[in-house]
C-alpha cells in the first residue's frame, strides 16, 4: 500500500426540505401513498413548464455560504438527458457549466489534526422518481420526482477512507445545523458517491478514477473505499490497468462490482434549459442569508471550549449534532457544572440514546432535569451511584430527579450529626471487631463501612461515613 498515493473526492446529494418541489408546486414532503404528490409538471406532461422555487434557491445559497463557497449571481439551469422510466421528461434539470456555488472548503478534526477539504462546486438539480421491480414488472412512484437536490462536489483532497467518511459526517452535520436537509443516508435524503484513484507515490498526474455508488452509511463509505483501494492496488501491483468505470458497493459482501464502463458511459447532451431564465440572485439576498446563518459546528465547538471550559474532545462530541449541543447547553445552564454535565451526556445519556434509538424530540428527560440531577450530586444529596439509578428511572418515566429520589427514598443522609450517630452506634455494637482493628487489622475498616451503609440502607453520605469512622476508630 505504501507504494501508492490515494486520491478521493466525494459527490454528496442533499435533498432539501422545502415545502414544494424545485420546479413545481406539488408537495415535496412525506406522502403515504405512491404517486400522491404529483402534477402535470412533475410527470412531464406535454406543455408543462418548470418554475424555480425560491425557497430551494435560498436553501442552496445557505449551504453554499456555510461551505465557504462563492455564490454566483448568475447561474444557469441545464438539461441532462438520459432515458429511464422514473425520469419523467427524459432529462433532469440540473446545473452544468455555471453552478450556483463554487470554490468553497470545509474543516474538520481527525486524529487531533485539522483537515481541510476543498469544495469544487455545489449545484441545484431535481430528484428523479423511484422505481421498484416486481416479477417482470416495474412500478414507478413519482412522489420524489422534482424534489430539490443540491449536489456538493468536493475537490479530490482526501487521501484516506477515514477522511472521506469524516468529511461526509461533517457535511451532514452542517446540513443539519442549517435545518435544510435531515442528512439521512439510510433513507436517501443524503446520498454519497465516492471517486477514488491511486497513483505511484509522489507522482503528480492522477491515476484512472473509479466512481462508487450506492453507499448508504458512513461506515460503508470507509469500507467500500478500503475495499476499492485494495482492489486497485493489487491490480496495479500486478501491472494491470484500472478501467474507468462506475461501481456499486454491496455491503453484505463488502465488495464493489462494476455497474458500467466508460465505453457505456452516457452522453448527457447538456445544454442550457430554454424554459428557464438564468438564475439571478442579488447581493442583498446573499447578504441577508449570510447574516441569518446559524452558528455552525466549528464555531459552536470553539465557543463551548471557551465558555464552558470543557476539553476539545468533549466539545467535538457535543457539537457533532445540533440537537445534542442544544441539550448540553440547556443542561449545563441548570447544573452550573458544565464539565460534570458533559460527562453525564457523553456517558449514560448517549448510551441510553443509542440503545433506545429515540430522537431528541421523543426524549422524556428534559435537559433541565438532567442538569438538576448533576446538581443533586454536587450538593451531595445523592451519590454518583444513586444518580445512575435515578437517571435510568428518569429516562423511562420522565419524572424529575427530585421526585424520583423522594419516592424511592433514595436521598443521601448528609446531616453530619445523623451520620455520626449511626457510626457510633455501629462501632459500639461490634466491640470484638473494634479490638481487632485497634490491634492492627486495618482491613476491618471496610467491614465497618459496610455495616454503616447497611444500617443507613445505603443512604449515608460516603464521605461523611469515612470521616467519622476514622475519627471514631482512632479514638
Amino acid at each position: 500500500m505504501s507504494n501508492w498515493d490515494v486520491v478521493i473526492g466525494l459527490e454528496i446529494h442533499a435533498q432539501l426540505q422545502t415545502d414544494s418541489k424545485v420546479f413545481a408546486p406539488d408537495s415535496a414532503g412525506y406522502s403515504k401513498h405512491a404517486n400522491e404528490n404529483i402534477s402535470e409538471i412533475s410527470l412531464g406532461y406535454p406543455g408543462s413548464l418548470p418554475t424555480v422555487n425560491r425557497m430551494a434557491v435560498e436553501y442552496s445559497i445557505k449551504i453554499g455560504l456555510a461551505l465557504n463557497c462563492n455564490i454566483k449571481k448568475n447561474s444557469v439551469f441545464a438539461r441532462k438527458h438520459y432515458f429511464y422510466p422514473d425520469l419523467a421528461k427524459g432529462y433532469q434539470i440540473s446545473q452544468f457549466e455555471l453552478p450556483l456555488c463554487e470554490d468553497g472548503s470545509i474543516d474538520f478534526m481527525l486524529d487531533d489534526k485539522n483537515v481541510t477539504v476543498g469544495i469544487e462546486r455545489a449545484h441545484m438539480e431535481e430528484d428523479a422518481g423511484k422505481s421498484s421491480h416486481k416479477g417482470g414488472y416495474s412500478l414507478i412512484d413519482y412522489n420524489r420526482a422534482g424534489v430539490p437536490l443540491l449536489e456538493i462536489v468536493s475537490k479530490p483532497d482526501m487521501t484516506t477512507s477515514k477522511q472521506a467518511a469524516e468529511y461526509a459526517r461533517t457535511v451532514r452535520n452542517v446540513l443539519r445545523y442549517l435545518e435544510v436537509c435531515d442528512g439521512n443516508l439510510e433513507e436517501g435524503s443524503m446520498r454519497c458517491d465516492c471517486n477514488v484513484s491511486l497513483k505511484p507515490k509522489g507522482q503528480k498526474e492522477l491515476g484512472t478514477k473509479v466512481e462508487i455508488k450506492n453507499i448508504n452509511s458512513f461506515r460503508f463509505i470507509e469500507k467500500a473505499l478500503d475495499f476499492e483501494i485494495q482492489r486497485q492496488a493489487s491490480l496495479l501491483e500486478n501491472n494491470e490497468s484500472i478501467s474507468q468505470e462506475t461501481r456499486l458497493y454491496d455491503s453484505t459482501k463488502n465488495k464493489t462490482f462494476s455497474m458500467r464502463s466508460k465505453e457505456e458511459a452516457m452522453d448527457y447532451r447538456y445544454f442550457p434549459d430554454p424554459d428557464l431564465l438564468p438564475l439571478e440572485v442579488s447581493d442583498e439576498l446573499i447578504e441577508s442569508i449570510r447574516k441569518n446563518l446559524p452558528e455552525l459546528p466549528l464555531e459552536k465547538k470553539e465557543r463551548f471550549k471557551k465558555d464552558y471550559e470543557i476539553p476539545d474532545y468533549d466539545a467535538s462530541v457535543l457539537t457533532s449534532d445540533k440537537d445534542l449541543a442544544f441539550y448540553f447547553e440547556e443542561s449545563a445552564k441548570a447544573s452550573k457544572n458544565p464539565k460534570a454535565t458533559s460527562n453525564w451526556i457523553m456517558g449514560d445519556f448517549l448510551k441510553s440514546l443509542k440503545e433506545s434509538q429515540l430522537s431528541f424530540e421523543d426524549l422524556k428527560v428534559s435537559p433541565k432535569d438532567l442538569g438538576l440531577l448533576v446538581q443533586l450530586i454536587d450538593k451531595g444529596e445523592i451519590s454518583g451511584k444513586m444518580a445512575k439509578q435515578v437517571f435510568a428511572d428518569m429516562w423511562k418515566s420522565g419524572e424529575s430527579p427530585k421526585a424520583i429520589v423522594k419516592s424511592k427514598g433514595l436521598s443521601q443522609i448528609s446531616d453530619p450529626e445523623e451520620v455520626k450517630s449511626i457510626v457510633e452506634g455501629v462501632v459500639s455494637a461490634h466491640p470484638g471487631q473494634l479490638a481487632e482493628y485497634k490491634s492492627g487489622k486495618n482491613k476491618l475498616f471496610g467491614f465497618f463501612v459496610g455495616q454503616v451503609m447497611k444500617e443507613s440502607k445505603g443512604q449515608a453520605n460516603p464521605e461523611l461515613v469515612t470521616k467519622f469512622l476514622m475519627e471514631k476508630l482512632k479514638s
Binding site: 410527470l43 412531464g44 406543455g47 418554475t51 438527458h81 422510466p85 430554454p274
Partner: protein, 482 residues
Amino acid sequence: MNINIDEGSGTSVVSKITEVFSKIEEKDSSINSFISLHKEDALASAAESDKRFKSQEDVRPLEGVSFSIKDMFCVKGHKTTAGSKMLKDFVPPYDATVIKRLKDAGAIILGKANQDEFAMGSTNEMSYFGACKNPWNLKHVAGGSSGGSAASVAARFAKISLGTDTGGSVRQPAHFCGTVGFKPTYGRVSRYGVVSFASSLDQTGFFSLKVEDAFKVAQVVSGKDTFDQTTSSSEKVIYDSNSVDTAQDLKGFKVGLVKEFMDADVDSDVAKAMELSKNALKARGAEIVEVELPLVEHGVPAYYLIATSEAASNLSRYDGVRYGHRADVNTDMSLEEFYTLNRSEGFGPEVKRRILLGNFSLSSGYIEAFYRKACQLRRLMREDYFKAFAKVDAILAPVASTAAFKLNAFEGDPLKKFLNDYFTVTVNLSGLPGLTVPVQKNESGLPVGVQLIANQFEEAKLLKAGLSLEDEFKFYEEAPDV
C-alpha cells in the same frame, strides 16, 4: 380594456355556432382543417354567452367569438394530439394558460385544428391525421405547420384561430391561405400548456381575416404568467388604439427593405405583392429605407440546429411510460426495446429526422461546432436586427418565395423545404413580432401576402403599418369558394 369583435348581429350566439358546425360538417371533409370538434362544449359556452348578452351583465371581451385551436394547445378534457400518432389519444387534465384566458374571456372553442406533427413542417402534410388542403385550391397545401388554423379561418369556419409559430408556422400558412397571421414578440403569450417544439422559439400566433382582430385577441391573452418564466411583463400594449386612429397617416414612419431579402430569388407574384405593398405604404407617407442583415443567409442553418436541438430534448418525454403511444410490448423486452418500439411507432418521419439532427448537434464532440455555433450566430443576427430597427420602424419582407405549393411537391427533398423558411426563421431567432397581411390573388387564384417585422414589443407599429396595407388591399372581402 373591453374588446368586442363583431360576429354579426341579429341571431343568438347558439344559432350562429350551430350554423358554423353544420358548415364545418358539410365542407371540412375535403379541406381537413379540423382534427376534432368540441360541439357540445361549444354550444354550452354559446348558451352562456347568450345569457350574459341578454342580461348585459358580465359581458366578456371575446364574448361569443368562435375559435379554432391548433392541436398543440392543451384543452382540458379534449384530445390534444400535436398532429401525432404519439398523442392521438392523449387527453390533458389541464388547460393551457392561453386557453384558460380565452375561456375566461367568453370565447367559443369550436375544436382542434390540423397541423404538421409536433409543428414540424411547412405544408401540413406531416400530420398523422392527413394533410390540410388549401381552401382556395384543394390541390395545394394550406401551409404549415399551423395549416388547419389558417384554412379554418380562410374557409370562414372560425373567426379566429390560435396557432404556434416557431419558424414561420403562423405567418407562412396565413400567406398561403390569404388570412392575417400575427406572431407577437417572444414572451408575450404564455407557452404553459402548449406542446413544446423549440422552447426558445415557440410563440403563440393568431389568424384572423382582419388585422385588428388578431391584435385584440393577442392583447387579451398575453401577459405575465407565473407558470412560464419566459413570459414578459412589458407594459407596451399590443393593441394600441392610437395605431388604429393614425393608420392612414404614415408620415415620419420608416419602412425598411432588407437588401439580402430583396436580392433573394422569389416568384413574380411575390415580387409583385412586395412592390404593391411598398407603394401603398409610400402613398400613405412612409419613408422607404434600405437596411442590411449581413448574416441572414445563415438564418436557416442556425434555426434548424437550434430548433432541432431543443426539439430532440423536448420530445424525450414521449416514451410511452406515463401517456402517449405504447407499442405492443411485453415483459420479455428490455427497457431499450420498449422505448425503441414506442418511439419508432409513435413518431412520423419528419419528427424522427429532427430528433436525430438535434441529438447529433448536442452530442459531445459536436456541440461546439453545431449547437453553440448556431447560438453565437443567433446573438449576432439579433444585433443586426436591432441595428436595423435603430433606423426603421418596421421591415417589409416576403413571407415565402412562392404562393402555396402543390401537395407532395417536396417529396424526398426535405432540405429544399427547409430553405423555404428563409424569410421567417430569423424573426423567431431574434424574438421579434411579425405579421402577414394578405395582398392579392396570383394568376392561379392563390393568395399572396407580405410580412411586416418590428422590433421586440413594438407590435403597435405592426398594427399601424398592417392596417395601412389592409386598407389598400381589403383582401378580407375575398372568400374562397368552399
